[in-house]
């Protein structure tokens, strides 16, 4: 096992958030033992990320998750704008 190594995570952006960052998918590397909060912190270094709210809804592998939930290698993390279906 390689501790301290980078861990690849796919981040999905939708609707106004995708518009804000100019892309709907970002591949990032996070430390192992990273949480959703770490992923968001990484995202906030990107141009346009100032338009994300302080506490966006998030999902891990297509299920709603909490900001403190652990993220694992290969996970798909989604940042979910206020939903507007119907």
């Amino acid at each position: 096992m390689r501790y301290r190594s980078a861990m690849p995570v796919r981040v999905l952006l939708f609707a106004s958030y995708a518009e804000a960052l100019g892309q709907d998918e970002v591949a990032i590397d996070t430390p192992v033992h990273a949480t959703v909060a770490d992923v968001l912190a990484h995202l906030r270094t990107m141009p346009g990320a100032d338009r994300l709210p302080p506490q966006p809804l998030v999902a891990i592998n297509a299920r709603y998750a909490r900001i403190g939930d652990a993220v694992h290698a290969g996970d798909e993390v989604a940042v979910i704008p206020p939903v507007a279906g119907g």
């Binding site: 609707a15 106004s16 999902a59 297509a62 299920r63 704008p81 206020p82 507007a84 279906g85």
Partner: protein, 146 residues
């Protein structure tokens, strides 16, 4: 029960037939359609976008919860994504039950929960050619959100 995210026009008659049964005396159907006005602006069209895998999961969960909350209901729900024109159905919910109270209540439950948690977004197209993703949590300037 059945829940689906679809790209083609939704056929109301199909959904009604799907929930029909001789033990059902009441069917409540809800149809959500694209309006020509929102928050005082003239809308010319609408684009629906879903996080598809998650939207299907959540919509299926909502329908399953509705059937569990209102025992005896038979529920089918389709939500459309893609480009829709004015008046087209974006969502149709059909609920049948022996009696009307459960049919109405379960139908209302599904649309309220769907709007609360199913990851689908819509972008309105305006007369001036601009487009905007709708945030139902933002205060509307002139009227409440549909």
């Amino acid at each position: 029960m059945r829940a689906a995210i679809v790209t083609q026009p939704i056929d109301v008659a199909t959904l009604l037939a799907e929930v029909a049964a001789l033990g059902h005396g009441a069917t409540s159907l809800f149809v959500g359609t694209v309006r020509d006005t929102h928050a005082g602006r003239h809308v010319t069209g609408m684009e629906y976008k879903a996080y598809e895998a998650m939207a299907l999961h959540e919509l299926t969960a909502v329908v399953a919860e509705a059937e569990a909350t209102f025992p005896g209901t038979q529920i089918v729900c389709e939500h459309r994504v893609g480009e829709l024109t004015l008046g087209e159905a974006s969502v149709v919910i059909a609920v049948a039950h022996a009696h009307r109270a459960s049919a109405f209540d379960a139908c209302r439950f599904v649309i309220e929960e769907l709007k609360r948690r199913v990851p689908i977004w819509k972008r309105e197209h305006y007369v001036d050619g601009t487009r905007a993703w709708i945030d139902p949590t933002a205060p509307a300037p002139r009227e409440a959100h549909a």
